[in-house]
C-alpha cells in the first residue's frame, strides 16, 4: 500500500515537471492522472489498490461517528431514567482479528460505542472481556454491531 502511494506521488511530480507547472493545482491534476494510471496497471500489483483501502477507512470513520452519537443517546436514556433498573454484566467476546493494531482499534471502537467498555484482553489476544451496561436486551444487538465493526476493520486490513 505504501509503495502504491509513493508511486502515485512520484507520478504527480513527473507530471509537474513535464508540464512545468509547479503549483498545487498542477500537483492535484498529476495525482488524479496517477490514480488513473494505477487503476489501469492494477494487475501488476500483488496487493489491491490503495484507493479501496482509503475508501474502507472512510466508511469505518462514518460508521464510528454514527455509533458514537447512538452511544450518547443511550447513555442519556440510562442516566435520565427515573428508576435505575439496568443490569450490568461482563461477557466474553471472541475476536478473529490477529494483529495488535487491529485489536487496539477494535477495543477503542467498542469502548466508544453503545453500552460497552472493554475491561480485559486475554493474554493470547483471542478474547475481549467487555462490560455491558445492560445485559438483558443488548447482548444480541451488540454482537451484531460489533460484527459490523470487525467486518469493517477486516475490510481495511485485508491486503
Amino acid at each position: 500500500m505504501a509503495f502504491q502511494i509513493i508511486l502515485n506521488f512520484v507520478l504527480a511530480f513527473v507530471w509537474m515537471f513535464l508540464s512545468s507547472n509547479y503549483t498545487v493545482t498542477g500537483f492535484i491534476v498529476g495525482f488524479l492522472l496517477g490514480i488513473l494510471l494505477l487503476i489501469m496497471m492494477r494487475r501488476f500489483f500483488t496487493t489491491r489498490l490503495y484507493v479501496y483501502r482509503i475508501w474502507a477507512i472512510i466508511k469505518l470513520t462514518l460508521l464510528f461517528l454514527k455509533e458514537l452519537v447512538l452511544a450518547n443517546i443511550q447513555v442519556l436514556q440510562v442516566v435520565l431514567k427515573p428508576k435505575l433498573d439496568m443490569q450490568p454484566a461482563f461477557f466474553a467476546y471472541p475476536t478473529v482479528l490477529k494483529q495488535e493494531w487491529e485489536i487496539t482499534l477494535l477495543s477503542s471502537l467498542i469502548t466508544l460505542t453503545p453500552g460497552t467498555v472493554v475491561v480485559h484482553v486475554s493474554d493470547d489476544a483471542k478474547t475481549l472481556y467487555v462490560h455491558a451496561i445492560d445485559i438483558s436486551d443488548v447482548d444480541e444487538a451488540i454482537a451484531a454491531i460489533r460484527d459490523s465493526f470487525e467486518k469493517a476493520i477486516l475490510e481495511v486490513s485485508k491486503s
Binding site: 458514537l68 466508544l112 467498555v117 472481556y129
Partner: protein, 119 residues
C-alpha cells in the same frame, strides 16, 4: 441573514450540544452506582462533548476570522485516541484491585479468568 451568519449559528448550536452532553455526563457520574457503569458515562459522553465543542470553535474561527486552526483538529484527534484507552485502563485497574460490581449485576465471565482461585 447571510450564509456566514448561518454557519456561525451552526457553530453556536454545536457548542451548545457539547455543553449539554457534558452536563449529562457529569450527572451520570453522580447517579450511576459503580465504577464500571460510571466509566460508560465518562468515556462516551465526554468524547462527544469535546468533539462538538472543539468543532464549533473551529468553525467559528474559520468563518468569523478566516483563521484555520489546525490545533483544534489535532485536539479532537488526540482526545479520540486517548479517551477510550483511559476508560479501559481505569476499568481494568479497578477490576484488578477487586472493586465490587453494583448490586443486581448479571453473570461475570471475567472472574474465573482473572481470579481462578476464588469460588
Amino acid at each position: 441573514m447571510n450564509v456566514n451568519q448561518m454557519i456561525e449559528w451552526a457553530a453556536v448550536i454545536l457548542i451548545l450540544i457539547g455543553s449539554i452532553v457534558s452536563v449529562i455526563s457529569a450527572y451520570g457520574m453522580i447517579r450511576l452506582p459503580d465504577v464500571y457503569t460510571r466509566s460508560h458515562a465518562a468515556t462516551k459522553s465526554s468524547t462527544l462533548s469535546v468533539l462538538t465543542c472543539l468543532l464549533g470553535a473551529f468553525i467559528y474561527f474559520w468563518v468569523h476570522d478566516g483563521f484555520v486552526s489546525v490545533r483544534l483538529i489535532l485536539g479532537i484527534l488526540f482526545v479520540f485516541v486517548t479517551a477510550p484507552v483511559a476508560g479501559h485502563l481505569i476499568c481494568r485497574a479497578a477490576y484488578r484491585s477487586r472493586v465490587p460490581l453494583a448490586e443486581g449485576s448479571g453473570e461475570d465471565e471475567l472472574k474465573p479468568k482473572l481470579f481462578p482461585e476464588e469460588k
